[in-house]
């Protein structure tokens, strides 16, 4: 990861392995942590993020479920309220439609409805993203959908270091945390992977604070705000822009809820220009929120109209040429700069 000096002999992990490591480390010290979901046991998770857990902790604490998301996510809420710290996996975020009541009306609201007398310490892990032709029900990001509704924290790591630290922080949080990991960063060979996501990860347990964005590349001329895989697009675009003598700053949101508006605003105050990169749908989502958060705070910092590089408002097509046409990319970010500078 840019900004982190990695010694050549330092251990690098994929996001999948760093998630599994954080889970294992917390499960060792906290007997109330357990994991539920489809294929998270013997298989180790379709995306590898629970690999090795069932061998160490057994099938009671690493619990394969029926294909009953409403049932087992609702059950996780009940277990969390009863003193456990459940981790549940929604295999693809696209499946939220079959179980969102348990998520947004129960998990997210029961602390409030109880007047703060209950804790709901649970983590909902879910995979996001496309780019590998999995069609319109298996490729969405839906960041905005989750971030819009109150009562749940939402994080989305872009690299293995943050992935471990955010997972540990989520596991220790007494409020529900939605942990959205992007399939294209996961380090599963069969999905391809962004090499930049696989970085040095300390063996010891540590946390990354939920609600803090990070400036992952400093720059003077334009701020590129993104999350997940978009951060890597932004870093690549920044490299290209650097060749054009444009100095781009890249902000990795890491958390959507709480949203670190201060870091965004400070960066844009410095650069005067804003590009938001988001693989979620264009309208009524993350990209608009980032822009609104800047302009409502101080209109005068902006020297040019902000630009969104987001997924168009269409279902995700299967055909590679169509899907690639829709996805954000480094080239589109560079083009956004050109538009802005024109």
């Amino acid at each position: 990861m840019t900004g982190t000096i990695v010694k050549s002999n330092e251990r690098k992990l994929t996001i999948a392995r760093s998630m599994a490591e954080a889970l294992a480390q917390e499960m060792r010290i906290d007997p109330t942590v357990f994991v539920m979901g489809e294929d998270i046991g013997t298989l180790g998770g379709v995306y590898g993020n629970t690999r090795g857990l069932i061998e160490e902790f057994g099938p009671e604490r690493v619990r394969d479920t029926p294909i009953s998301e409403t049932g087992f996510i609702g059950a996780a809420v009940g277990a969390a309220q009863d003193g456990m710290r459940p981790v549940v996996e929604l295999m693809f975020v696209d499946f939220f439609g079959v179980c969102f009541d348990a998520i947004y009306n129960l998990m997210a609201k029961n602390i409030y409805f109880s007047g703060g007398h209950l804790k709901v310490p649970m983590v909902l892990m879910t995979s996001t993203g496309g780019g590998y032709s999995d069609g319109g029900q298996h490729s969405q990001c839906l960041y905005g959908t989750f971030a819009h509704l109150p009562g749940m924290k939402v994080v989305a790591p872009s690299n293995a270091y943050d992935a471990k630290g955010l997972m540990t922080a989520a596991l220790r949080d007494d409020s529900p945390v939605v942990y959205m990991y992007h399939k294209g960063l996961q380090g599963m060979g069969w999905l391809g992977t962004e090499p930049g996501a696989t970085v040095h990860v300390p063996e010891d347990s540590y946390t990354v604070e939920i609600g803090k964005a990070k400036v992952v590349r400093e720059g003077r001329d334009v701020t590129i705000v993104s999350l997940g895989i978009g951060v890597h697009h932004a870093l690549k675009a920044a490299d290209t822009l650097a060749q054009q003598n444009v100095s781009a700053e890249v902000v990795d949101l890491r958390s959507l809820v709480p949203l670190d508006r201060d870091t965004i605003r400070a960066s844009v105050a410095k650069t005067g220009r804003l590009i938001v990169v988001d693989e979620d749908y264009h309208s009524f989502g993350v990209s608009a929120e980032v822009i609104a958060s800047v302009v409502e705070h101080d209109l005068s910092v902006l020297k040019a109209a902000p630009v969104r590089v987001a997924y168009p408002d269409v279902p995700i097509p299967y055909a590679r040429v169509m899907e690639q046409f829709c996805l954000p990319s480094p080239a589109k970010i560079v083009a956004a700069w050109a538009q802005m500078a024109a």
Binding site: P31, T32, F34, E60, R61, T65, P66, S68, E69, T70, G71, F72, I73, G74, A75, A76, V77, G78, A79, A80, Q81, D82, G83, M84, P86, D101, A102, N105, L106, N110, I111, Y112, F113, S114, G115, G116, H117, L118, K119, V120, P121, P150, G151, K153, D173, D174, S175
Partner: protein
């Protein structure tokens, strides 16, 4: 399994307490709502779902439970909250939206949470089943005692969440009991128009677990069937599905004109009111004295009056506290 004399007294007391509370609430509910009925007004605003008539289910089941057991209830929760031992002052204060309420006014009558007695309820149909199953799992995983009971309405048995939770509880053999209150209506839609089977206990076959139907809105019959199911759950033998015939004497919510009821239904329901029936049996079959029952009824009236007074006297929440308690 027959209730002890103490249990019978407890059951009657709680039925009367629930009824008395709801009769009182139903009067107060109209304060500020006459001559123009607007749900937003008065000391108890919002929807109000009364459970008058359904008390037998609450007491027949909860007689077997202690504070450590878990109950999730529905949008029609008062009778169960009372039978589960929810703090009455705080519950009524919550219904009044006061700072002293269970949740400081954030929840309201459909969102009564009392963690001290492991009671919760909620407003979405069949929503309580998953959490109850999860609490049962929590106990099983940790080897802790406790049975989880989810109450739902007959209409709720057609919601997907019911099916998923039942299967989960059965496949994991959890200490869980599902109790359906069959009042034969889901708002204006009769059970016959919404449920493909006459009785939901047959759905137990879909999960390989025992199923029972209890006819007659009879607290003693419910006591017996629920007792066996709860004992079975405590013994680690897995879940049971119970459907109890019952009646709602009031409308779906207050303000409901009940135009959908067939002629004569209401009269028949009132004629079969379970509280006078229970009272008569206590006198005739179980050796209770008139004085005892009058005393119980008086105590209930006093208790309700005190709770109402507590609620009325309590302060409103601070408006800006609406922004607190979102996260733990």
């Amino acid at each position: 399994m027959t209730p002890s004399r103490d249990e019978l007294a407890w059951m009657y007391r709680n039925m009367v307490l629930s009824r008395r509370l709801e009769e009182t609430i139903s009067k107060i509910y109209f304060e500020g709502k006459t001559p123009v009925f607007n749900m937003a007004n008065g000391p108890i605003p919002g929807e109000m779902h009364l459970s008058n008539g359904q008390e037998p289910v609450a007491v027949g089941v909860c007689a077997h439970l202690t504070a450590e057991d878990i109950v999730t209830a529905t949008h029609r929760p008062h009778h169960q909250a009372i039978a589960k031992g929810v703090d009455l002052d705080a519950m009524v204060a919550e219904i009044f939206g006061k700072a002293t309420g269970l949740s400081g006014g954030r929840g309201g009558h459909m969102h009564l949470f009392d963690p001290k007695v492991n009671f919760a309820c909620s407003g979405i149909i069949a929503q309580g089943l998953g959490p109850a199953v999860g609490a049962a799992l929590s106990r099983k995983l940790r080897g802790l005692p406790g049975v989880a009971v989810a109450f739902l309405g007959d209409g709720a048995a057609n919601q997907g969440a019911f099916h998923e939770a039942m299967n989960l509880a059965a496949v994991w053999k959890l200490p869980f009991v599902c109790v359906i209150e069959d009042n034969s209506w889901g708002i204006s839609v009769p059970k016959s128009a919404s449920t493909a089977v006459a009785r939901n206990d047959v759905r137990a076959a879909a999960y390989g677990i025992p199923g029972h139907y209890v006819a007659g809105n009879d607290p003693l019959a419910i006591y017996e069937v629920a007792g066996e199911a709860i004992a079975r759950a405590r013994a680690g033998a897995g879940p049971t599905l119970i459907e109890c015939e019952t009646y709602r004497l009031a409308g779906h919510f207050m303000g409901d004109a009940e135009g959908y009821r067939p002629k004569g239904e209401k009269e028949a329901l009132f004629a079969a009111d379970p509280i006078p029936k229970m009272r008569a049996r206590l006198l005739a079959e179980f050796g209770f004295s008139e004085d005892e029952l009058v005393a119980a009824e008086g105590a209930a009236a006093d208790r309700v009056a005190a709770a109402i007074r507590f609620a009325r006297d309590s302060a409103d929440p601070r408006p800006e506290d609406a922004l607190t308690a979102v996260f733990a």
